[in-house]
């Protein structure tokens, strides 16, 4: 996330692809071949069995976004590409994180977690596993908050996104 904090513009592309084997590899291979950088990537089936949706966050520094979109569009299995405008889309990410925490500090963590809207998933002798869903900046903030405790393991999904409803009505 450092690029964003340095002011580089990242783009969130929602790419609808045919649900066929090898399609993700084609997308990944294209990014490698054209030297475009992926910051985050999430793939899942959609409401239509024939289609999957890939949410890609592209480092806007690595290539002009127009070129990324045009090259992606040349992939035969890519059906649609939306370049989501910041502030005009709902973006969500899930984080699972295990933090080191002595029993006497558990309450501090739980208080922070409640405020952030997260959940305790599992409690160990001197550690806790937490989950949090939110927009990526929210997750970043919470992750930073946990660092002083000592993060033992962390797994983030990469972001998924859909355009705001009023953006899609035209």
């Amino acid at each position: 996330m450092s690029a964003e904090s340095q002011g580089h513009r990242n783009h969130t592309l929602v790419v609808t692809v045919e649900n066929k084997s090898g399609v993700l590899a084609r997308v990944a291979s294209l990014f490698a071949r054209r030297a475009f950088n992926i910051r985050s990537l999430a793939v899942a089936p959609t409401e239509d069995d024939h289609l999957s949706r890939i949410t890609i966050v592209v480092d806007g520094e690595s290539a002009p976004i127009e070129q990324v979109v045009n090259q992606l569009d040349k992939l035969i299995n890519v059906v649609d590409i939306q370049d989501l405008q910041p502030g005009h889309a709902i973006e969500r990410e899930l984080m699972l994180v295990t933090v080191a925490v002595e029993p006497e500090h558990r309450d501090d963590i739980v208080e922070q977690l409640d405020r952030a809207g997260g959940k305790v998933m599992s409690v160990g002798a001197d550690s806790m596993m937490l989950s949090l869903v939110g927009d990526p900046e929210h997750i970043d903030t919470f992750e930073n908050l946990l660092r002083p405790f000592g993060i033992l393991e962390i797994q983030r999904t990469g972001r998924v996104a859909l355009a705001n409803l009023d953006e899609t009505i035209e």
């Binding site: 692809v17 045919e18 084997s21 090898g22 070129q67 992939l75 035969i76 299995n77 890519v78 059906v79």
Partner: protein, 577 residues
């Protein structure tokens, strides 16, 4: 009709109008070779799978029809990787069918297994791994549709053995009469935006120093005639890139010839000094632009391309026009016919152009008695002794540049070369493919000795399959272009560029492959040798021309420098100041 996958594959190729295919059988593709015996498709048995791919490319470039190659799995698939990449960079319509191990064996490192679709994903327009026999007819239709529409390119279809093997129940299918393609993500828009055309025409009308910058897309869109009309209507000079030689007649007064690293001085300089480049089906390749931020700095850009990803990829156009080149040119012509081509005075520009043409023609120093043959001289003699519509296929290196420079291309589809990938060894198989597609035309391969040794075995194919091509081997015993760079940029330190003066014996080698062969050392023997070669119609011909090794390709824009720093031949250096 109930049938098996192998039969359905061949039937599907026939339905696509395939008349000829180039290939070599092996284990995994065996079941598809059986129905070939009963098919009207001509199959040409190559000696190396790379040859099959380049033949399909040569066929496609000469005829405009998609080239088809078929090979087996594993090493055969990897051998055809080079032609696929070559066709991808030069936008050549080609369909390659590869055998694959049976579906159940995929992923087990089976004998002759390789991840063909994985390997070729980034060098094909698209590829398919077919896993059900029932999908074969549709996929073949889709492969040809993708290969031949929009920006053309190579498509690979990987076919596991079990779905084509008639003894395997998995190969059984119902072959429908109508096969519908199903490509929801593939749309081709050839139409052009009239507003953009209007803007382009306004720029043309007001330009003082316009240049038509023509790329291979003109040939792909069959737009040579429309281009001639546009050029004559506007009186704008034309440069034809390496991929577009022949798209505009070299003999035409508006033709400035080839631009780029070894382009002629006038073409390079006219682009450089231009105030409007009308790029038609060209892609601002680094070999054309030289150092990008010094390229044609005062020029506005109109860029027409069928591939939207080309618009702005290298140089941002002032007027981008996505669409078919011919449609765009015809639209421009129509607007100009209505509104005129403008009254901008271009007298000064035309006089500058003719000044450059007078001062910087393409030149070489003729050999003095006893000196080795000059390669340029050989090309000139060949050009003068062959029909105007002769197809020239070239390899890659100095001989390629001399062929492009010194031939006079007055017909489209008569120049076949490896432009983007720069594949040595391209010429002989490409010439064979071209001759198969155009049996009534004379086809000459112009080759170098380095290239010749990479694919010469296909002359066996040419002889055995009765494909009488002719090969002009410009043999200087060196990897000439690399030597030239070592001469110019590495203080004449020659590292691994000398091949051999006497080995191989090219005449003996060619004769052993069933060719008629000659060796020519003396300039006085050149014409007669070519005349004899032109008379041979029943077998391939090879002429081993022993040429001067120290000869360099001029002009030259050195790699990494700008196009204003053209290196001219020594005899013109005084003119540059």
């Amino acid at each position: 009709m109930k049938t098996d996958g192998g039969q359905a594959l061949i039937r599907s190729l026939e339905r696509e109008g395939v008349e000829v295919m180039f290939g070599l059988p092996g284990g995994a593709i065996l079941p598809v070779y059986d129905p070939i015996i009963d098919s009207k498709i001509r199959h040409i048995l190559v000696r190396h799978e790379q040859g099959a791919g380049h033949m399909a490319e040569g066929y496609a470039q000469a005829t405009g029809k998609p080239g088809v190659a078929m090979v087996t799995s594993g090493p055969a698939a990897t051998n055809i990787v080079t032609p696929l990449c070559d066709a991808y960079l030069d936008s050549i319509p080609m369909v390659v069918i590869t055998g694959q191990v049976p579906t159940a064996a995929i992923g087990t490192d089976a004998f002759q297994e390789c991840d063909t679709t994985g390997i070729t994903a980034s060098i094909t327009k698209h590829n398919f791994l077919v896993t059900e026999a029932q999908d074969i007819p549709r996929v073949i239709r889709e492969a040809f549709h993708i290969a031949t529409t929009g920006r053309p390119g190579p498509v690979l279809v990987d076919i596991p053995k079990d779905i084509v093997d008639p003894t395997n129940p998995r190969s059984s299918l119902e072959l429908e009469d109508n096969v519908e393609i199903d490509l929801p993500g593939y749309k081709v828009d050839t139409s052009v935006d009239p507003e953009a055309i209007q803007k382009a025409v306004e720029l043309i009308q007001n330009a003082e120093r316009p240049i038509l910058y023509i790329g291979g897309g003109i040939l792909k869109s069959r737009a040579a005639e429309s281009l001639l009309e546009l050029a004559e209507l506007t009186g704008i000079h034309v440069v034809t890139t390496l991929m577009a030689r022949g798209a505009f007649p070299d003999s035409h007064e508006l033709c400035l010839g080839m631009p780029g690293m070894h382009g002629n001085f006038t073409a390079v300089t006219a682009m450089q000094e231009s105030d409007l480049l009308i790029a038609l089906g060209a892609r601002f390749d680094d070999r054309v632009t030289g150092k990008l931020d010094e390229f044609a700095v005062s020029a506005k850009i109109v860029h027409v391309d069928i591939d939207p990803a080309e618009l702005g990829k290298v140089r941002r156009p002032d007027v981008p026009i996505q669409g078919d080149c011919r449609t765009a040119i015809e639209a421009m012509v129509s607007v100009i016919r209505d509104s005129g081509s403008g009254d901008t005075d271009r007298t000064a520009w035309k006089s500058r152009i003719s000044g450059w043409q007078e001062r910087f023609p393409l030149v070489y120093e003729a050999s003095t008695p006893g000196q080795a043959l000059k390669p340029q001289f050989v090309i000139e003699k060949l050009r003068d002794a062959t029909p105007a519509d002769t197809i020239v296929a070239s390899g890659v290196g100095q001989h390629q540049m001399w062929a492009s420079q010194y031939w006079t291309f007055n017909h489209p589809y008569t120049w076949i070369n490896s432009g983007g990938l720069g594949t040595m060894g391209f010429s002989i198989p490409a010439a064979i493919g071209a001759k198969v597609g155009c049996p009534d035309k004379m086809v000459w391969a112009v080759d170098g000795d380095g290239c010749f040794q990479m694919t010469a075995q296909e002359l066996v194919t040419a002889r055995v399959e009765n494909i009488p091509i002719k090969v002009a081997l410009l043999n200087n015993s060196y990897l000439g272009m690399v030597r030239q760079w070592q001469d110019m940029f590495y203080e004449e330190r020659h590292s691994e560029v000398f091949l051999s003066k006497e080995i191989p014996d090219y005449k003996g080698w060619a004769e052993s492959m069933g060719c008629f062969a000659m060796r020519v050392d003396d300039p006085d023997e050149v014409e007669e040798a070519i005349a004899r070669a032109n008379e041979v119609e029943d077998r391939p011909v090879v002429i081993d021309f022993r040429t001067a090794a120290e000869e360099k390709v001029y002009p030259m824009v050195a790699s990494g420098t700008g196009n204003s720093d053209v290196i001219v031949p020594p005899s013109q250096e005084k003119e540059i100041r």
